[in-house]
Symmetry: C2
Subunit: 425 residues, 2 copies
Amino acid sequence: MFSSTKQCSCKLLFQFQHKLRQSSKNASRSCSLKVKQILSEPLEEKKYEPEQYDETDSEITFRFKDLTTKLCNPDQLRAKPDEADLKFGHIFTDHMLKVFYHRKLGGWQKPVIIPFENISLHPASKVLHYAIELFEGMKVYRGVDGKIRIFRPELNMARMNASAISSGLPSFYGDELIKCIKRLVEVDQEWVPHSPTSSLYMRPTLIGIDGTLGVQQSESALLFTIMCPVGSYFSGSDDSVSLLADPAYTRAWPGGCGDKKLGSNYGPTIRVQKRALEKGRQQVLWLYGPDHQITEVGTMNIFVFYEDEFGERVLATPPLNGLILPGVTRQSILQLCDQWKEFRIEQRAVTMSEIVQRSRSGKLLEMFGAGTACIISPIRSIEYQDELIEVPTMQQQNPVYHRARAELVAIQYGHIQHPWAQVIE
Amino acid sequence: MFSSTKQCSCKLLFQFQHKLRQSSKNASRSCSLKVKQILSEPLEEKKYEPEQYDETDSEITFRFKDLTTKLCNPDQLRAKPDEADLKFGHIFTDHMLKVFYHRKLGGWQKPVIIPFENISLHPASKVLHYAIELFEGMKVYRGVDGKIRIFRPELNMARMNASAISSGLPSFYGDELIKCIKRLVEVDQEWVPHSPTSSLYMRPTLIGIDGTLGVQQSESALLFTIMCPVGSYFSGSDDSVSLLADPAYTRAWPGGCGDKKLGSNYGPTIRVQKRALEKGRQQVLWLYGPDHQITEVGTMNIFVFYEDEFGERVLATPPLNGLILPGVTRQSILQLCDQWKEFRIEQRAVTMSEIVQRSRSGKLLEMFGAGTACIISPIRSIEYQDELIEVPTMQQQNPVYHRARAELVAIQYGHIQHPWAQVIE
C-alpha cells in the first residue's frame, strides 16, 4: 500500500507504532446494500471540479512532487486511544502537513510533513484579529477489505479554493493538496481506526499570517492539515436530536459569506448554541428572513421529507442561494436519492410555517441534518415560538435518512465499490 | 511620571533605549481651541461603564496586583522608526502583555509583561478554525506638556467584555486591564511618538486557544496586548476619501454580531474592500436592507451633516440597532456636538435615496467616518449604482468634521485638560 516517502525508513518506523485497538467483532461484517454506480452528476448543483491548470508557477500552486517528510522519532509516537475514547477532535495523529505562502518569496513554498507541533505566529497575525481563516472537513475510512478510502476530496478542494478566494487568501491546485494529504494519511495510516464505525477526520486549514495590523489582504499564509481519529456519532439506537429555532438569531445573510467555509461563520454561533443547550436542545435550527426560512442545522445542511397534498413524497432542502454551505454530504444525498427515483427532490426555500402546517396535518415524515462530521443526524423535535414540534423521523418504517446513511457508509467503508470513495494506494 | 515596576531596574533600562526622533518643530505649538468640560453624558446611548464587582475569584478576573514584568535585555531593544516611516500596524514596541485563562486551572492566570514574541498555538486552537477572537483599538498620545494620555479606555473595556460574552470567552474587570496596559505603556514609554500628530496604538486581543476541533465554547483563552507607534492619517491638505456603495454586499445583519468587535466581522470584508480599491475607491460604504441604509464606512462609523427642508442643520448617524459598532469616537463626537448646541443631532436610519436627494438639492453638506485609527475621515464622493455622488465636505467653511477632529485632538494631546484623556502617571 505504501509508496516509499522521500526520507524513507517508513517501514522501519511503523514497526514501532502502537497498534490501534481493532474492533474485530465487526471486521468481517457483510453488507447487503447495493448502490448503482453513479457515472454522472445529474443534479443542477454547482459542481466542484478542479479547474484545468497549465501553469507551474509557485504563485499558482504548491506541488506534491516537492513534498518532503520529516518523521517523528519512534519515542515521539503517541499511544492510540481506545475507540470508546474517541471524543471528536480531541486526539491528533503524530504528523501534520504544512505549506507556507509568502507573496514576497514568490508564493507557495514547498510542502512538508513534520511531527505534529504547535504553530508559532506573530501576535499581529491577521488570523488572530480579522478571522482571515478557512477550513475543510474530510474523512478517510478503513474499509471492510482493509483498504483506506477518502470520500470525494475534490469537492472539498474546490470549496476550499472558493473560500480562499473570498478571503483574499491564495488558491492552489486541489489535486496537489489531495496528493499531499494522501501521503500524510499513509504516514499516519495506523491512526485510521480499525473499525467499521470510526474514521480519521482531516482538517485542512488556511490562515492569513501577515504580522501587521490593518484590515487588508494577507500577503502570507499557512496551509496546514491535522488529523484526528473520530468515533461514531451514532452510539445509541436513537441518535436523534432536538433543535432550537429562534428567529432572533441569523447565521448567514445575502451579501455575506455563508456559503463559504470561513471561520467567521462559526465564532458568532457559539452564543446561540449555548442558548440551545441551556434550553435542553442539542442543536440550533438556523432561520432566515421574515418568513423564517430554515437554512441549516448546527453546522449541517438540513433536509425535510414529507408527503404533499397529492400524496406524493418529497425530499426538500434549501437551495444554494448564498446562505447555504454547499455540503459534500448534502450533494451526495441529493445524488443518491435522485438515483433511487422514488420521490420528488426539491431544492427550494422551506419556511417554519410550512413545517408547522405539515406537522399538524400529519404529513411531515422526516427531518435530518447532513455533514461530514456526523454524516446524517435525524431530528426528533423543534422548539419554535414556545411550541415543540414533534418530527416523527424515528417512527418511520425504513426511513430515508437511514437508507441514505447506510448507502453512504457502504460506499465509505468499501462494502460496495463506488467512484466517490477513492482507495489510497 | 513613572511608578517603579515590580521587577524594577526600569530606569537603568531606559538609558539604553534608542530615542524616538522628536518632531521638535511642532512640540511647542499652542492651541486656541476651548472645550467645555463635560460632566455628564447626556445622550441616551448605551453606556460603557465598568460594572461594580465585589468578588475576587480568578474565575471573574485577573488582577493588576499580580502583574509581573520581564524586561528585554538592552540588546533586544529595537530601534524606533522615523515618524515618516510609521505605516499603520507594521512596527511594534519591545514588550507585550499576556494573560492566560484556563477554566480547568481556576480561570484567569497572572498577567505578565514580557519581551515581544511570537505566540505558540496548538494547530487545533479554536481561534484558527472558528474565529473565536475579538479585539479593541485604543491610543495613547504624548501631549504638548510631555505627559502621556490614554483616551476613554473604560469604553473600550466595556465593549471588549461585551464582545467576550458574545463569543463565549471569559470577561474580566476592565479597570484591571487598563492598569496593566498603563504599565505596559510605561515600560515602552519611549515608543510613544514625540509628535503632535502621531500616537501609540494599542491592540488588546482575546482569542480562544482550546486545542480541540468542534464548534464549542473555548475553555482556554489568551488575552494579549501589543502596541505600535502610528503616524497621522492626515498627511496632505485634502485627506478625503471616495467610497464604493454596493448593495450586493452586507457587513452586518439583525440577529448577528455586527455591534461587537469580533474578528468575524472583518475577514469577510477583505474581498469587498479589494473590489472598492479596484474601482478606484478608498473605502466601502456598507449598506443594509432593501432601502439601502448606510451603516458604516470601511471600519468606521459614519456621519452625515445636512440642512433640512426648514433650513435647520442636522448631524445624523445610524442608531445602535445591532448593526452598528458602538464606536468610542462616534460617541465622543455625538457628545461634543451635543455640547455645542448649534444643530440638531439624530441617531436614525439614513438611506442612500435620502443621500441622493439631499445631494441633488444641494443641502448635503458633509459626510465623514469616525474611528480610533483615523479619528475622523472626511468623505468626498460615493459611487452608487453607476453614479458618483459628490459630497462637498471639503468645500465647507469651518466644517463640522474639522472642528470635531480639532477638539478631539486638543483633548488627546493635552492642549486642553479634559476628563476623557487620562494622564498615565
